[in-house]
Symmetry: C2
């Protein structure tokens, strides 16, 4: 905890099978016109849409429909959402879905009362909000991004071939989020697994950086162990409520700023994965999985001590008689075995990436310097090629 930092996370969470009822406590705090944000038709098929519309009506709300938020929400969709909110003078944004819907709602929330183009303002010029922020609430149906309790909002611009995240401050975080693990059970297994790897990698991004014995690293290890434990149960039995609930709760704490307090962070797997996503539109968690092992093998020599700790503390590998390097390698082997067991994408080819796309992906990769070894463009190309 050597750094100076602040921590403030005002999002109120309602967790469990009965959590939706708390919408009735929250909705009266906000204005009459609610923009109801969701993705495809899954919430209509499983009845959640009807339940939420009924609650909104009981609370006297006027509903502005904003359907069709895609898995990687686009700048184009964002502009449409902002227009809809402006035209209807919405008072509240209610996102029902996974991280994409929550992210999109936050990006809309900081743009409704601004005149600038939201993509240019927040994703090219990286400005902070300068206008009134419309409050956001989330009903989460997929565990993964942590968007339900943070200020992050990732938007993709297909024309510019960019997928960029902006982490806003605590005034943009959802006012409340409703987390019912049962909702996550309706997802296809591949989506669940992608979410699990997204969670795990959020933790890795904050863990594989820095060299002290920071409390945050102990907490990161705890979350990793819980995710691994519960994911192995959930892939066998996706209906296991306890496993799904632990995955959902771990996802929230993996990316709500707690485990990065007082330490440096990496985030290069996300930069690589987001670049892959910008070019291919592949599922976010799978893009992370496909580049992770080559990336970690590349940086391992520069952070041997932490990779050795990862092996013993997360995977329970016995250190007796082993060098740091041996331990570090065994840790990455354990990670690989777990990834194969739960069934994530093990390489970029599985996601449709071909060698001729590598240069474009490298162009779209933002280079950060918090990890054990700063990558240059050649390194990025090498990691991407090793990921094919």
């Amino acid at each position: 905890m050597l750094g100076n930092f602040s921590y403030h996370n005002p999002t109120k969470l309602y967790f469990g099978e009965d959590a939706l009822g708390y919408l009735n406590e929250e909705l009266p705090k906000y204005g009459k016109t609610v923009q109801l944000i969701y993705g495809g038709g899954s919430i209509k098929r499983n009845g959640l849409y009807d339940e939420i519309v009924a609650i909104l009506k009981e609370n006297g709300k006027t509903i502005v429909e904003d359907a069709g938020v895609m898995p990687n929400p686009t700048a184009e969709k964002l502009r449409e959402g902002v227009k809809l909110a402006k035209e209807n003078k919405v008072d509240f944004l209610l996102a029902v879905g996974g991280g994409s819907c929550c992210d999109y709602a936050k990006a809309v929330s900081v743009s409704v009362h601004c005149d600038d183009d939201p993509w240019d303002k927040y994703y090219i010029r990286f400005e902070e909000p300068t206008c009134e922020i419309v409050p956001v609430g989330c009903v989460l149906t997929m565990a993964g991004t942590g968007s339900e309790m943070n200020g992050g909002a990732v938007i993709t611009n297909h024309e510019q071939k960019l997928k960029i995240g902006h982490v806003f401050g605590d005034d943009v975080m959802p006012k409340f989020s409703i987390l019912n693990p049962k909702y996550t059970m309706t997802l296809p297994k591949r989506q669940m697994v992608a979410g699990v790897y997204d969670i795990f990698n959020h933790i890795c991004e904050q863990y594989f950086s820095g060299e002290d014995d920071n409390t945050s690293d102990y907490l990161a290890e705890a979350l990793m162990k819980s995710v691994v434990h519960s994911s192995l149960i959930a892939v066998e039995n996706p209906e296991d409520y306890e496993a799904r609930s632990n995955i959902m709760w771990s996802a929230t704490w993996a990316l709500n700023t707690l485990i990065s307090r007082g330490k440096s962070t990496d985030w290069m797997v996300h930069m690589l994965g987001q670049a892959v996503g910008a070019i291919t539109d592949a599922t976010h968690g799978m893009t992370l999985a496909a580049v992770s092992l080559p990336y970690y093998r590349f940086i391992m020599p520069y952070g041997l001590k932490k990779f050795a700790r990862f092996a013993t503390e997360v995977w329970g590998i016995n250190p007796a008689g082993k060098s740091e390097e041996e331990l570090a390698n065994e840790g990455l082997e354990a990670l690989k075995n777990w990834m194969q067991t739960i069934g994530v994408a093990m390489n970029l080819s599985e996601l449709g990436v071909t060698e001729d796309m590598i240069e474009a992906i490298a162009d779209a990769t933002i280079l950060l310097d918090g990890g054990y070894k700063k990558l240059d463009r050649d390194d990025v190309v090498a990691v991407l090629k090793a990921s094919l």
Copy 2:
């Protein structure tokens, strides 16, 4: 995470060597008259008092002095503090000190605008606040109680020989807390060690209950490991900033409701320790330490699986070839060794308790039923006698 629960912790934390400067950001949000709450003269000797008074004056505040908050704040002192706040129509309560000062400030905050006697209302009738709550801020000088980010307020009534905690809701939590690990370095070593054991036991109270593979238990183990690791450094070198900062941060997260989400909790060590405190006025953390091992040995047979997990996950004990009972015993031996190494009270005799006090302590012990075995009064007497 089988239970339904909510989580909302709006306290803003400023952490690090430069944290005090953030008072200048926070103070303008509150009214003019500030009740400055502190304990003995230590903050006058180390200069913190002068620094804070200067900041308050720069921000145009009128200071109402409320000194002399004792380590176990009394109902009598609470009534005086409420009277002072009423007479001066204070707008804000700024506690500078350890958990006692923060607890006391919260107990005052819910009583200023009420007519009832605060002890009777909150500690005998256990009512919730029914009047306007005066906002509280904390500048923490001792790590231990977690009071800086929760709604808890423990008050002692010597006449009635009772020491009782009331956990208030999120509207009573401090609006902000300033955590500078350097302040904790001015404490005598015995106080530091008592704080360390208080932290560790807060985690135990939430850990030793329930039987699932809850994410909260993994987080609890992480905090325990971090506290053990850093405490061993800090007892050798109390000036080690990194160790002291990790202890301070772990203390906050050990008792801000995170690690109890979705699970049952115990809290009997605190009930026993608080009863000892009510009779002897001994240091809180030491009262917990003195009764812990006899209590855990008593309940161990009813929670063998968790005690075995405690041994392997917290203390790194190799489970090969051992029964759950053997492991559980080795875990408690490891706990005992650590307690002896850091130098906490290992029995009640060290705290001045004699056999003739046992009945009075048992009378003052509140019996809870969240742990692996509910104690009856005879069990309490047995545990207390084993603690002598």
